[in-house]
Symmetry: C2
Subunit: 162 residues, 2 copies
Amino acid sequence: SSPAVRGVALDCGQAQASVHGVPDWPGAAAAVCRALSDDNISLDTIVQSECTRQTPLGAARDLAFTLPRQALEQARQALAPLLQQWPGAELIPGGPIARVSAVGAGMPCTAGTAGRMFRALADAGINIAMIATSEIRISCVVAQEDGEAALRAVHHSFNLAG
Amino acid sequence: SSPAVRGVALDCGQAQASVHGVPDWPGAAAAVCRALSDDNISLDTIVQSECTRQTPLGAARDLAFTLPRQALEQARQALAPLLQQWPGAELIPGGPIARVSAVGAGMPCTAGTAGRMFRALADAGINIAMIATSEIRISCVVAQEDGEAALRAVHHSFNLAG
Ligand SMILES: C[C@@H](O)[C@H](N)C(=O)O
Ligand SMILES: C[C@@H](O)[C@H](N)C(=O)O
């Protein structure tokens, strides 16, 4: 049977940021992405969980993403006019991060494969900040200084040359 | 040039749930996934944002996921022993949801493609609950009753037959 994970990729050139206080109504996430793409800023990973905050506008969510480190200041400026329209909204920049992704042809038992990847990182003492998965890709964001160790740990866990 | 999005998929058989209060130390996410996979529960989408809560154990995060609707009660039981070890941790089940995913060969300008997908949903009046993206897949979780309309809206936005 084909291996659950056939490759692992490491990207150390990104930073993480989050917009807190995105109003939980249709169009808000679109507006954030449009403000960035209009300024030619491409996002890599976009994650929105179900956790909500209360702002003067009502229920709001955090929209977290990763992007090229050098684009972070440009992103702040591109988002400023939009965030001014949303009381309580702000861009919270995060530090430099590393994103390690396990890619598989099909990972139908994501909990098993994801658990194995998370366990590999944990055994290397690496804390996981953001997580985004699909059937064919599990991405974990870790601190930048953990990037190389994270790649080795996941390679080793899935018996891949690395 | 190849289209950014070449297919859209709809999955209406899932439910969404979130573990609140996952301690933000290495091994916690792995323990959650292992408890579920040990009980043969496969997760589909796993999302962890950077938003942290404070629990008696210190900083903690929410780990949100989607899974087959019929597995939700089994997941609660599988997680119970683990969550008992973490003061302040609990499983928050969500309602039935629909997951609509746009798949592309490569979506290097994710902000543009994601923004277009989010805009399509917004124009159909559909609120987005969870988001998880990778270079080749954008997944949005919406209310179950919005599933069919979401599929049509995204198909239409990317000029795909549907
Ligand atoms: C929070 C944001 O995702 C909002 N729910 C939207 O649909 O745009
Ligand atoms: C919160 C959880 O993801 C934790 N940071 C871990 O690495 O397992």
